[in-house]
Amino acid sequence: MPPAEANAMNEQRDQPDLKDARPVFEGFVVKALGRGGKTRARQAVTRVLGAGWTVRTFGDDESDFEVTRRERKGATLTARRAWEKTYALRAQPGLTYAEPIFTVPVSGPPGFRAEGLEQTV
Protein backbone atom coordinates (compact mmCIF):
# COMPACT_ATOMS: atom_id res chain seq x y z
CA MET A 1 0.00 0.00 0.00
CA PRO A 2 1.54 3.34 -0.94
CA PRO A 3 1.96 5.84 1.90
CA ALA A 4 -0.66 8.29 0.66
CA GLU A 5 -3.36 5.63 0.60
CA ALA A 6 -2.43 4.20 3.93
CA ASN A 7 -2.43 7.56 5.64
CA ALA A 8 -5.76 8.49 4.15
CA MET A 9 -7.07 5.27 5.64
CA ASN A 10 -5.55 6.12 8.98
CA GLU A 11 -7.19 9.52 9.03
CA GLN A 12 -10.61 7.88 8.96
CA ARG A 13 -10.07 6.05 12.21
CA ASP A 14 -11.61 7.43 15.35
CA GLN A 15 -9.64 5.80 18.16
CA PRO A 16 -5.90 6.43 17.99
CA ASP A 17 -4.76 3.02 19.18
CA LEU A 18 -1.39 1.76 18.06
CA LYS A 19 -2.84 -1.74 17.81
CA ASP A 20 -4.65 -0.50 14.72
CA ALA A 21 -1.38 0.34 13.04
CA ARG A 22 -0.34 -2.80 11.22
CA PRO A 23 2.92 -3.55 9.42
CA VAL A 24 3.00 -2.47 5.82
CA PHE A 25 4.73 -4.54 3.20
CA GLU A 26 6.91 -2.42 0.91
CA GLY A 27 8.92 -4.87 -1.18
CA PHE A 28 11.81 -7.30 -1.04
CA VAL A 29 15.58 -7.19 -0.97
CA VAL A 30 17.32 -9.92 -2.94
CA LYS A 31 20.98 -10.65 -3.51
CA ALA A 32 22.45 -12.22 -6.65
CA LEU A 33 26.23 -12.44 -6.82
CA GLY A 34 28.54 -12.13 -9.81
CA ARG A 35 28.12 -11.11 -13.43
CA GLY A 36 24.60 -11.29 -14.75
CA GLY A 37 23.25 -10.91 -11.23
CA LYS A 38 20.52 -8.53 -12.26
CA THR A 39 19.27 -10.85 -14.96
CA ARG A 40 19.19 -13.78 -12.56
CA ALA A 41 17.44 -11.64 -9.96
CA ARG A 42 14.80 -10.58 -12.51
CA GLN A 43 14.23 -14.14 -13.63
CA ALA A 44 13.85 -15.39 -10.08
CA VAL A 45 11.50 -12.58 -9.19
CA THR A 46 9.32 -13.27 -12.21
CA ARG A 47 9.19 -16.99 -11.41
CA VAL A 48 8.12 -16.38 -7.82
CA LEU A 49 6.17 -13.13 -7.93
CA GLY A 50 5.02 -12.95 -11.54
CA ALA A 51 5.02 -9.81 -13.66
CA GLY A 52 4.56 -6.27 -12.39
CA TRP A 53 7.65 -5.98 -10.20
CA THR A 54 10.63 -3.67 -10.60
CA VAL A 55 14.12 -4.94 -9.79
CA ARG A 56 16.78 -2.29 -9.29
CA THR A 57 20.18 -2.03 -7.71
CA PHE A 58 20.79 0.26 -4.76
CA GLY A 59 23.70 1.45 -2.68
CA ASP A 60 27.27 0.53 -3.40
CA ASP A 61 26.92 -3.21 -3.94
CA GLU A 62 25.85 -4.23 -7.42
CA SER A 63 24.66 -7.58 -6.14
CA ASP A 64 21.92 -6.04 -3.98
CA PHE A 65 18.50 -5.47 -5.52
CA GLU A 66 15.36 -3.75 -4.31
CA VAL A 67 12.16 -5.39 -5.59
CA THR A 68 9.05 -3.23 -5.57
CA ARG A 69 5.65 -3.12 -7.22
CA ARG A 70 5.82 -1.42 -10.61
CA GLU A 71 2.53 0.35 -9.90
CA ARG A 72 2.59 2.27 -6.61
CA LYS A 73 -1.10 1.59 -6.16
CA GLY A 74 -0.79 -2.13 -6.85
CA ALA A 75 -2.27 -4.53 -4.32
CA THR A 76 0.00 -5.13 -1.39
CA LEU A 77 0.98 -8.52 0.05
CA THR A 78 -0.22 -9.69 3.43
CA ALA A 79 2.41 -10.60 5.99
CA ARG A 80 1.81 -14.30 5.37
CA ARG A 81 2.14 -13.98 1.59
CA ALA A 82 5.22 -11.79 1.92
CA TRP A 83 6.99 -14.35 4.10
CA GLU A 84 5.96 -17.26 1.91
CA LYS A 85 7.26 -15.43 -1.14
CA THR A 86 10.46 -14.69 0.77
CA TYR A 87 11.03 -18.38 1.45
CA ALA A 88 10.31 -19.14 -2.21
CA LEU A 89 12.80 -16.49 -3.34
CA ARG A 90 15.45 -17.90 -1.01
CA ALA A 91 14.98 -21.28 -2.67
CA GLN A 92 15.57 -19.90 -6.14
CA PRO A 93 18.82 -20.79 -7.92
CA GLY A 94 20.87 -17.67 -8.54
CA LEU A 95 19.72 -15.84 -5.43
CA THR A 96 21.89 -15.98 -2.33
CA TYR A 97 19.52 -14.09 -0.06
CA ALA A 98 16.04 -12.61 0.11
CA GLU A 99 14.02 -10.78 2.74
CA PRO A 100 10.83 -8.76 2.89
CA ILE A 101 10.78 -5.03 3.57
CA PHE A 102 8.14 -4.10 6.12
CA THR A 103 7.43 -0.85 7.83
CA VAL A 104 6.49 -1.79 11.39
CA PRO A 105 5.01 1.03 13.50
CA VAL A 106 6.11 0.75 17.11
CA SER A 107 6.26 4.15 18.70
CA GLY A 108 3.73 6.09 20.69
CA PRO A 109 1.16 4.87 23.20
CA PRO A 110 -2.59 5.40 22.82
CA GLY A 111 -3.26 9.05 23.48
CA PHE A 112 0.32 9.93 22.73
CA ARG A 113 -0.55 13.55 21.93
CA ALA A 114 -1.10 15.61 24.99
CA GLU A 115 -2.93 18.90 25.15
CA GLY A 116 -1.52 22.09 23.72
CA LEU A 117 1.98 22.08 22.42
CA GLU A 118 3.18 19.14 24.47
CA GLN A 119 3.91 16.35 22.06
CA THR A 120 5.40 12.94 22.49
CA VAL A 121 7.07 12.12 19.24
Binding site: M1, P2, P3, A4, E5, A6, N7, M9, N10, E11, Q12, R13, P16, L18, K19, D20, A21, R22, P23, V24, E26, G27, V29, K31, F58, G59, D60, D61, D64, E66, T68, T78, A79, R80, W83, E84, T86, Y87, Y97, E99, P100, I101, F102, T103, V104, P105, V106, S107, G108, P109, P110, F112, G116, L117, E118, Q119, T120, V121
Partner: protein, 459 residues
Protein backbone atom coordinates in the same frame (compact mmCIF):
# COMPACT_ATOMS: atom_id res chain seq x y z
CA UNK B 1 24.68 19.02 28.33
CA UNK B 2 27.04 21.99 28.56
CA UNK B 3 26.12 23.36 25.16
CA UNK B 4 26.65 27.04 26.07
CA UNK B 5 30.11 26.09 27.37
CA UNK B 6 30.84 24.35 24.07
CA UNK B 7 29.78 27.47 22.17
CA UNK B 8 32.44 29.47 23.98
CA UNK B 9 35.06 27.44 22.14
CA UNK B 10 34.10 29.21 18.92
CA UNK B 11 35.84 32.45 18.10
CA UNK B 12 33.83 35.67 18.35
CA UNK B 13 31.90 36.31 15.19
CA UNK B 14 31.84 32.67 14.27
CA UNK B 15 28.51 30.95 14.83
CA UNK B 16 28.73 27.56 16.55
CA UNK B 17 28.22 24.86 13.97
CA UNK B 18 29.13 27.11 11.06
CA UNK B 19 29.95 25.17 7.92
CA UNK B 20 28.03 22.11 9.08
CA UNK B 21 25.29 20.60 6.94
CA UNK B 22 22.71 18.29 8.51
CA UNK B 23 20.48 15.97 6.48
CA UNK B 24 17.07 15.63 8.05
CA UNK B 25 14.71 12.84 6.91
CA UNK B 26 11.42 13.67 8.61
CA UNK B 27 7.91 14.94 7.90
CA UNK B 28 9.17 17.92 5.89
CA UNK B 29 9.72 21.58 6.65
CA UNK B 30 7.70 24.74 7.16
CA UNK B 31 8.69 28.42 6.94
CA UNK B 32 8.73 28.70 10.72
CA UNK B 33 10.77 31.76 11.77
CA UNK B 34 12.88 29.59 14.08
CA UNK B 35 14.28 27.50 11.21
CA UNK B 36 13.63 29.12 7.86
CA UNK B 37 16.94 30.96 7.61
CA UNK B 38 18.84 27.72 8.15
CA UNK B 39 17.15 25.56 5.52
CA UNK B 40 18.70 24.47 2.23
CA UNK B 41 15.38 23.64 0.64
CA UNK B 42 16.75 23.56 -2.90
CA UNK B 43 18.68 20.41 -1.96
CA UNK B 44 15.72 18.74 -0.30
CA UNK B 45 13.37 16.15 -1.69
CA UNK B 46 9.91 14.77 -1.00
CA UNK B 47 9.90 10.98 -1.19
CA UNK B 48 6.19 10.83 -0.32
CA UNK B 49 5.13 12.72 -3.43
CA UNK B 50 8.33 12.04 -5.35
CA UNK B 51 9.08 15.67 -6.11
CA UNK B 52 11.61 18.29 -5.06
CA UNK B 53 9.37 20.16 -2.61
CA UNK B 54 9.96 18.75 0.89
CA UNK B 55 7.39 21.04 2.47
CA UNK B 56 5.31 19.49 5.30
CA UNK B 57 1.69 19.24 4.15
CA UNK B 58 0.65 19.32 7.82
CA UNK B 59 -1.94 16.57 7.41
CA UNK B 60 -3.68 15.68 10.62
CA UNK B 61 -5.08 12.35 11.71
CA UNK B 62 -4.36 9.02 13.35
CA UNK B 63 -0.66 8.70 14.14
CA UNK B 64 0.21 11.61 11.88
CA UNK B 65 2.73 14.14 13.10
CA UNK B 66 2.25 17.48 11.33
CA UNK B 67 5.08 19.86 12.12
CA UNK B 68 7.32 17.17 13.59
CA UNK B 69 10.12 17.98 11.15
CA UNK B 70 9.84 21.65 12.04
CA UNK B 71 10.17 20.92 15.75
CA UNK B 72 13.15 18.60 15.49
CA UNK B 73 14.89 20.89 12.99
CA UNK B 74 14.66 23.77 15.41
CA UNK B 75 16.43 21.79 18.12
CA UNK B 76 19.37 21.35 15.75
CA UNK B 77 19.73 24.67 13.93
CA UNK B 78 17.46 27.38 15.31
CA UNK B 79 19.43 30.66 15.41
CA UNK B 80 20.34 32.26 18.72
CA UNK B 81 17.88 34.78 20.12
CA UNK B 82 14.21 35.32 19.49
CA UNK B 83 13.13 35.28 15.88
CA UNK B 84 9.74 36.82 16.49
CA UNK B 85 7.50 37.70 19.41
CA UNK B 86 6.25 34.23 20.35
CA UNK B 87 4.20 34.22 23.50
CA UNK B 88 3.60 37.99 23.42
CA UNK B 89 5.97 38.37 26.33
CA UNK B 90 7.36 41.72 25.32
CA UNK B 91 11.10 42.04 25.77
CA UNK B 92 11.57 38.31 26.52
CA UNK B 93 9.62 36.35 23.93
CA UNK B 94 9.72 32.57 23.77
CA UNK B 95 12.51 31.28 21.57
CA UNK B 96 14.31 28.10 20.66
CA UNK B 97 18.09 28.00 20.61
CA UNK B 98 19.33 25.20 18.43
CA UNK B 99 22.43 23.31 19.49
CA UNK B 100 24.28 24.18 16.26
CA UNK B 101 22.80 27.54 15.24
CA UNK B 102 25.45 28.10 12.58
CA UNK B 103 24.72 24.87 10.72
CA UNK B 104 22.44 24.44 7.72
CA UNK B 105 19.82 21.75 7.29
CA UNK B 106 18.55 19.87 4.24
CA UNK B 107 14.96 18.72 4.79
CA UNK B 108 13.97 15.41 3.20
CA UNK B 109 10.34 14.39 3.48
CA UNK B 110 9.88 10.66 3.94
CA UNK B 111 6.59 10.24 5.77
CA UNK B 112 3.69 12.01 7.38
CA UNK B 113 4.35 10.05 10.55
CA UNK B 114 7.49 9.38 12.53
CA UNK B 115 6.25 5.92 13.42
CA UNK B 116 6.36 5.28 9.69
CA UNK B 117 2.75 4.18 9.54
CA UNK B 118 1.61 3.25 6.08
CA UNK B 119 5.02 2.75 4.59
CA UNK B 120 8.17 4.71 4.81
CA UNK B 121 11.15 2.43 5.33
CA UNK B 122 11.99 2.53 1.64
CA UNK B 123 11.52 6.27 1.67
CA UNK B 124 13.79 6.57 4.68
CA UNK B 125 16.49 4.46 3.02
CA UNK B 126 16.31 6.56 -0.15
CA UNK B 127 16.32 9.76 1.90
CA UNK B 128 19.52 8.72 3.65
CA UNK B 129 21.18 8.09 0.28
CA UNK B 130 19.83 11.36 -1.08
CA UNK B 131 21.26 13.30 1.85
CA UNK B 132 24.63 11.57 1.47
CA UNK B 133 24.67 12.44 -2.22
CA UNK B 134 24.04 16.09 -1.27
CA UNK B 135 27.22 15.96 0.82
CA UNK B 136 25.68 16.39 4.23
CA UNK B 137 27.97 15.85 7.21
CA UNK B 138 25.41 14.59 9.71
CA UNK B 139 22.06 12.81 9.33
CA UNK B 140 19.56 13.10 12.18
CA UNK B 141 16.76 10.52 12.12
CA UNK B 142 13.85 11.09 14.50
CA UNK B 143 11.88 8.08 13.32
CA UNK B 144 12.15 4.34 13.27
CA UNK B 145 10.60 0.99 12.50
CA UNK B 146 10.11 -2.10 14.60
CA UNK B 147 11.71 -4.59 12.28
CA UNK B 148 15.06 -4.52 10.46
CA UNK B 149 15.80 -4.87 6.78
CA UNK B 150 19.04 -4.79 4.91
CA UNK B 151 17.75 -2.10 2.54
CA UNK B 152 17.83 0.36 5.43
CA UNK B 153 21.16 -0.90 6.72
CA UNK B 154 22.80 -0.59 3.32
CA UNK B 155 21.58 2.99 3.06
CA UNK B 156 23.19 3.79 6.40
CA UNK B 157 26.42 2.15 5.29
CA UNK B 158 26.28 4.11 2.03
CA UNK B 159 26.20 7.33 4.03
CA UNK B 160 28.82 6.26 6.53
CA UNK B 161 31.21 5.27 3.76
CA UNK B 162 30.99 8.89 2.61
CA UNK B 163 31.92 10.17 6.04
CA UNK B 164 28.42 11.02 7.24
CA UNK B 165 27.68 10.74 10.96
CA UNK B 166 24.28 9.02 11.24
CA UNK B 167 22.23 9.31 14.43
CA UNK B 168 18.78 7.96 15.22
CA UNK B 169 16.18 8.00 17.97
CA UNK B 170 16.10 4.91 20.19
CA UNK B 171 12.28 4.89 20.26
CA UNK B 172 9.43 5.74 22.62
CA UNK B 173 7.08 3.52 24.58
CA UNK B 174 8.50 0.31 23.20
CA UNK B 175 10.55 -2.34 24.93
CA UNK B 176 13.42 -2.39 22.46
CA UNK B 177 15.57 -0.04 20.42
CA UNK B 178 14.03 0.49 16.99
CA UNK B 179 15.77 0.45 13.64
CA UNK B 180 17.85 2.14 12.25
CA UNK B 181 19.02 3.19 15.74
CA UNK B 182 19.67 -0.46 16.57
CA UNK B 183 22.43 -0.74 13.98
CA UNK B 184 26.06 -0.51 15.10
CA UNK B 185 26.71 2.03 12.35
CA UNK B 186 24.12 4.42 13.82
CA UNK B 187 24.52 6.44 17.01
CA UNK B 188 21.42 5.47 19.00
CA UNK B 189 20.17 8.15 21.37
CA UNK B 190 17.91 7.52 24.38
CA UNK B 191 16.19 10.31 26.30
CA UNK B 192 16.63 11.92 29.71
CA UNK B 193 14.95 14.87 31.41
CA UNK B 194 15.88 18.20 32.95
CA UNK B 195 16.45 16.55 36.33
CA UNK B 196 19.29 14.54 34.82
CA UNK B 197 17.29 11.33 35.09
CA UNK B 198 16.19 8.92 32.41
CA UNK B 199 12.94 9.61 30.61
CA UNK B 200 10.54 6.89 31.67
CA UNK B 201 9.21 6.17 28.19
CA UNK B 202 12.51 6.08 26.34
CA UNK B 203 13.52 2.85 24.66
CA UNK B 204 16.64 1.42 26.21
CA UNK B 205 19.00 -1.46 25.63
CA UNK B 206 22.45 -2.54 24.65
CA UNK B 207 22.15 -0.79 21.30
CA UNK B 208 21.90 2.65 22.90
CA UNK B 209 25.10 4.67 22.59
CA UNK B 210 24.31 7.81 24.55
CA UNK B 211 21.47 9.73 26.20
CA UNK B 212 20.35 13.35 25.80
CA UNK B 213 17.43 15.50 26.95
CA UNK B 214 14.12 14.37 25.47
CA UNK B 215 11.44 15.41 27.95
CA UNK B 216 9.71 18.78 27.64
CA UNK B 217 12.24 20.07 25.14
CA UNK B 218 11.60 23.57 23.80
CA UNK B 219 11.04 23.47 20.05
CA UNK B 220 9.29 25.20 17.18
CA UNK B 221 5.66 24.19 16.77
CA UNK B 222 2.88 24.34 14.21
CA UNK B 223 -0.62 24.82 15.56
CA UNK B 224 -3.85 23.27 14.29
CA UNK B 225 -4.66 26.39 12.27
CA UNK B 226 -1.22 26.29 10.63
CA UNK B 227 0.14 29.13 12.75
CA UNK B 228 3.65 28.99 14.13
CA UNK B 229 4.49 28.79 17.81
CA UNK B 230 7.11 27.75 20.29
CA UNK B 231 6.35 25.04 22.83
CA UNK B 232 7.64 21.84 24.32
CA UNK B 233 7.73 18.27 23.14
CA UNK B 234 8.93 14.96 24.50
CA UNK B 235 10.51 11.94 22.91
CA UNK B 236 13.78 10.49 21.70
CA UNK B 237 13.10 12.49 18.52
CA UNK B 238 14.35 15.53 20.38
CA UNK B 239 17.18 13.71 22.11
CA UNK B 240 18.68 12.63 18.80
CA UNK B 241 18.25 16.10 17.31
CA UNK B 242 20.22 17.49 20.24
CA UNK B 243 23.11 15.09 19.69
CA UNK B 244 23.03 15.72 15.94
CA UNK B 245 23.63 19.35 16.86
CA UNK B 246 26.61 18.30 18.97
CA UNK B 247 27.99 16.36 15.99
CA UNK B 248 27.70 19.48 13.84
CA UNK B 249 29.45 21.52 16.56
CA UNK B 250 32.30 18.99 16.74
CA UNK B 251 32.81 18.97 12.97
CA UNK B 252 32.71 22.75 12.85
CA UNK B 253 35.12 23.06 15.77
CA UNK B 254 37.75 20.77 14.25
CA UNK B 255 37.01 21.53 10.61
CA UNK B 256 35.50 18.65 8.70
CA UNK B 257 37.81 19.02 5.74
CA UNK B 258 40.82 18.78 8.04
CA UNK B 259 39.42 15.66 9.70
CA UNK B 260 38.75 14.04 6.32
CA UNK B 261 42.28 14.82 5.16
CA UNK B 262 43.85 13.49 8.34
CA UNK B 263 41.84 10.31 8.84
CA UNK B 264 39.90 9.68 5.64
CA UNK B 265 36.24 10.72 5.51
CA UNK B 266 34.93 7.22 6.18
CA UNK B 267 36.61 7.21 9.61
CA UNK B 268 34.93 10.41 10.81
CA UNK B 269 31.72 8.71 12.06
CA UNK B 270 33.68 6.10 14.00
CA UNK B 271 35.96 8.67 15.61
CA UNK B 272 33.06 10.89 16.59
CA UNK B 273 31.11 7.98 18.05
CA UNK B 274 34.07 7.02 20.22
CA UNK B 275 34.72 10.56 21.43
CA UNK B 276 31.03 11.11 22.10
CA UNK B 277 30.76 7.93 24.17
CA UNK B 278 34.01 8.53 26.04
CA UNK B 279 32.95 11.98 27.23
CA UNK B 280 29.52 11.42 28.72
CA UNK B 281 28.43 12.36 32.22
CA UNK B 282 26.73 9.83 34.48
CA UNK B 283 22.94 9.84 34.60
CA UNK B 284 21.38 9.82 38.03
CA UNK B 285 19.93 6.42 38.87
CA UNK B 286 20.13 5.13 35.32
CA UNK B 287 20.06 1.37 35.00
CA UNK B 288 21.61 -0.41 32.06
CA UNK B 289 20.46 0.48 28.59
CA UNK B 290 21.25 4.19 28.41
CA UNK B 291 24.62 3.85 26.75
CA UNK B 292 27.51 5.69 28.28
CA UNK B 293 25.34 8.35 29.89
CA UNK B 294 24.43 11.97 29.27
CA UNK B 295 26.20 13.71 26.39
CA UNK B 296 28.52 16.53 27.47
CA UNK B 297 29.00 18.81 24.46
CA UNK B 298 31.83 20.79 26.01
CA UNK B 299 33.86 17.70 26.83
CA UNK B 300 33.23 16.31 23.35
CA UNK B 301 34.69 19.42 21.76
CA UNK B 302 37.57 19.53 24.21
CA UNK B 303 38.52 15.88 23.72
CA UNK B 304 41.82 15.34 21.92
CA UNK B 305 41.65 13.72 18.52
CA UNK B 306 43.10 10.20 18.31
CA UNK B 307 46.45 9.35 16.79
CA UNK B 308 47.17 6.49 14.40
CA UNK B 309 43.49 5.99 13.77
CA UNK B 310 43.97 4.63 10.26
CA UNK B 311 45.42 1.43 11.63
CA UNK B 312 43.51 1.11 14.86
CA UNK B 313 39.88 1.94 14.23
CA UNK B 314 37.76 -0.60 12.41
CA UNK B 315 34.96 0.74 10.24
CA UNK B 316 31.91 -1.39 10.94
CA UNK B 317 30.20 -0.52 7.67
CA UNK B 318 32.75 -2.45 5.68
CA UNK B 319 32.66 -5.66 7.64
CA UNK B 320 32.17 -8.70 5.46
CA UNK B 321 29.20 -10.08 7.34
CA UNK B 322 26.03 -10.11 5.31
CA UNK B 323 23.59 -9.50 8.14
CA UNK B 324 24.18 -8.05 11.60
CA UNK B 325 23.40 -10.57 14.32
CA UNK B 326 20.35 -8.65 15.49
CA UNK B 327 18.81 -8.88 12.02
CA UNK B 328 19.45 -12.54 11.35
CA UNK B 329 16.61 -14.03 13.38
CA UNK B 330 18.90 -15.89 15.77
CA UNK B 331 19.12 -15.60 19.53
CA UNK B 332 20.70 -12.14 19.20
CA UNK B 333 17.56 -10.84 17.47
CA UNK B 334 15.32 -12.01 20.31
CA UNK B 335 17.78 -10.81 22.92
CA UNK B 336 17.57 -7.36 21.32
CA UNK B 337 13.78 -7.42 21.29
CA UNK B 338 13.33 -8.70 24.82
CA UNK B 339 16.35 -7.55 26.79
CA UNK B 340 14.21 -5.03 28.68
CA UNK B 341 10.67 -6.06 27.84
CA UNK B 342 8.60 -3.80 30.01
CA UNK B 343 4.99 -3.86 28.92
CA UNK B 344 4.09 -0.71 27.10
CA UNK B 345 2.98 1.83 28.14
CA UNK B 346 2.62 0.70 31.75
CA UNK B 347 6.35 0.71 32.20
CA UNK B 348 7.77 1.29 35.64
CA UNK B 349 11.37 2.03 36.44
CA UNK B 350 11.72 -1.28 38.26
CA UNK B 351 10.27 -3.25 35.35
CA UNK B 352 12.39 -1.39 32.87
CA UNK B 353 15.52 -2.25 34.77
CA UNK B 354 14.81 -5.98 34.63
CA UNK B 355 16.81 -7.92 32.10
CA UNK B 356 16.24 -11.30 30.54
CA UNK B 357 18.87 -13.99 30.64
CA UNK B 358 19.91 -15.87 27.52
CA UNK B 359 19.15 -19.16 29.26
CA UNK B 360 15.50 -18.24 29.83
CA UNK B 361 15.15 -16.81 26.35
CA UNK B 362 16.65 -19.91 24.77
CA UNK B 363 14.41 -22.18 26.79
CA UNK B 364 11.22 -20.30 25.89
CA UNK B 365 12.06 -20.09 22.19
CA UNK B 366 12.87 -23.81 22.08
CA UNK B 367 9.59 -24.52 23.78
CA UNK B 368 7.67 -22.34 21.37
CA UNK B 369 9.27 -23.89 18.32
CA UNK B 370 9.04 -27.44 19.62
CA UNK B 371 12.75 -28.24 19.52
CA UNK B 372 15.53 -28.89 21.96
CA UNK B 373 17.85 -26.05 22.86
CA UNK B 374 20.54 -27.76 20.79
CA UNK B 375 18.25 -27.76 17.77
CA UNK B 376 17.17 -24.17 18.31
CA UNK B 377 19.83 -22.36 16.23
CA UNK B 378 18.98 -24.39 13.12
CA UNK B 379 15.26 -23.81 13.62
CA UNK B 380 15.80 -20.09 14.06
CA UNK B 381 17.78 -19.98 10.82
CA UNK B 382 14.67 -21.31 9.11
CA UNK B 383 11.92 -19.18 10.64
CA UNK B 384 13.56 -16.94 13.24
CA UNK B 385 13.22 -13.75 11.23
CA UNK B 386 9.53 -14.29 10.65
CA UNK B 387 8.90 -15.21 14.28
CA UNK B 388 10.71 -12.04 15.37
CA UNK B 389 8.66 -10.04 12.90
CA UNK B 390 5.35 -11.22 14.34
CA UNK B 391 6.47 -10.68 17.91
CA UNK B 392 7.81 -7.19 17.18
CA UNK B 393 4.84 -6.04 15.14
CA UNK B 394 2.01 -7.19 17.41
CA UNK B 395 2.00 -5.50 20.84
CA UNK B 396 -0.28 -8.17 22.35
CA UNK B 397 1.90 -11.00 21.14
CA UNK B 398 5.03 -9.14 22.20
CA UNK B 399 3.71 -8.63 25.71
CA UNK B 400 2.47 -12.23 25.93
CA UNK B 401 5.88 -13.62 25.04
CA UNK B 402 7.64 -11.07 27.26
CA UNK B 403 5.49 -12.28 30.16
CA UNK B 404 6.88 -15.79 29.74
CA UNK B 405 10.37 -14.37 30.28
CA UNK B 406 9.60 -12.48 33.45
CA UNK B 407 10.92 -13.87 36.73
CA UNK B 408 8.17 -15.67 38.59
CA UNK B 409 7.29 -14.39 42.04
CA UNK B 410 6.72 -17.32 44.37
CA UNK B 411 3.25 -17.31 45.94
CA UNK B 412 3.02 -16.42 49.61
CA UNK B 413 2.11 -19.98 50.53
CA UNK B 414 5.09 -21.34 48.59
CA UNK B 415 7.37 -18.86 50.30
CA UNK B 416 6.16 -20.03 53.71
CA UNK B 417 6.27 -23.73 53.04
CA UNK B 418 9.40 -24.05 51.02
CA UNK B 419 12.92 -23.76 52.37
CA UNK B 420 14.80 -20.69 51.14
CA UNK B 421 16.94 -22.65 48.67
CA UNK B 422 13.90 -24.11 46.88
CA UNK B 423 12.16 -20.77 46.73
CA UNK B 424 15.14 -19.35 44.89
CA UNK B 425 14.98 -22.12 42.30
CA UNK B 426 11.28 -21.53 41.82
CA UNK B 427 11.92 -17.89 40.98
CA UNK B 428 13.44 -18.73 37.61
CA UNK B 429 10.58 -18.29 35.15
CA UNK B 430 6.86 -18.55 34.66
CA UNK B 431 5.08 -21.74 33.76
CA UNK B 432 4.94 -22.78 30.09
CA UNK B 433 1.24 -21.94 29.89
CA UNK B 434 2.25 -18.54 28.57
CA UNK B 435 4.16 -20.15 25.75
CA UNK B 436 1.06 -22.14 24.83
CA UNK B 437 -0.95 -18.95 24.50
CA UNK B 438 1.71 -17.42 22.25
CA UNK B 439 1.71 -20.58 20.15
CA UNK B 440 -2.07 -20.43 19.86
CA UNK B 441 -1.93 -16.81 18.76
CA UNK B 442 0.72 -17.52 16.15
CA UNK B 443 -1.35 -20.36 14.71
CA UNK B 444 -4.33 -18.08 14.21
CA UNK B 445 -2.34 -15.11 12.94
CA UNK B 446 -1.42 -14.28 9.37
CA UNK B 447 1.76 -16.36 9.57
CA UNK B 448 3.35 -18.40 6.81
CA UNK B 449 2.67 -22.10 6.41
CA UNK B 450 6.31 -22.75 7.26
CA UNK B 451 6.13 -20.95 10.60
CA UNK B 452 2.78 -22.53 11.45
CA UNK B 453 4.26 -25.96 10.78
CA UNK B 454 7.27 -25.32 13.01
CA UNK B 455 5.19 -23.86 15.81
CA UNK B 456 2.64 -26.66 15.71
CA UNK B 457 5.33 -29.30 15.61
CA UNK B 458 4.49 -30.81 12.24
CA UNK B 459 7.33 -29.24 10.28
Amino acid sequence: MKVPEAWKRFAAGREPGEGGVVGHPDTGYTRHPEITSRLLTDKGFDFVNNDSDARDELKRGFLLFPGHGTGTSSVIVSPQGAQTNFGNLGANPLAVWGVAPGAKLIPVRVSTSVVLVGGGVLNLARAIEHAADKNVHVISISMGTGFPNSRLLKAVQYAQKRGVIVLAAAGNYVGFVVWPAAYDEVIAVAASNARNKTWLHSSRGGAVDVTAPGESVWCAGVEDNGGFSVGRGSGTSFAVATVAGVAALWLSHHGRAKLAKRYGAEKIPVIFNQILRDNCDPLAGAGPGFGRGLVNADRVLAAPLPDGVRALVPTPAFALRELPAIDAGGLATFRHLFESPAAQPRRTRAAAAATVSDAVLRARLAELLGVTEEELPARLREVGQELAFHLASDPDLYNAFAATLAPKRPRAAEKKAAPKRVATRAAVTTAPAGVESVRGALLTKDTSAALKAKVSGVG
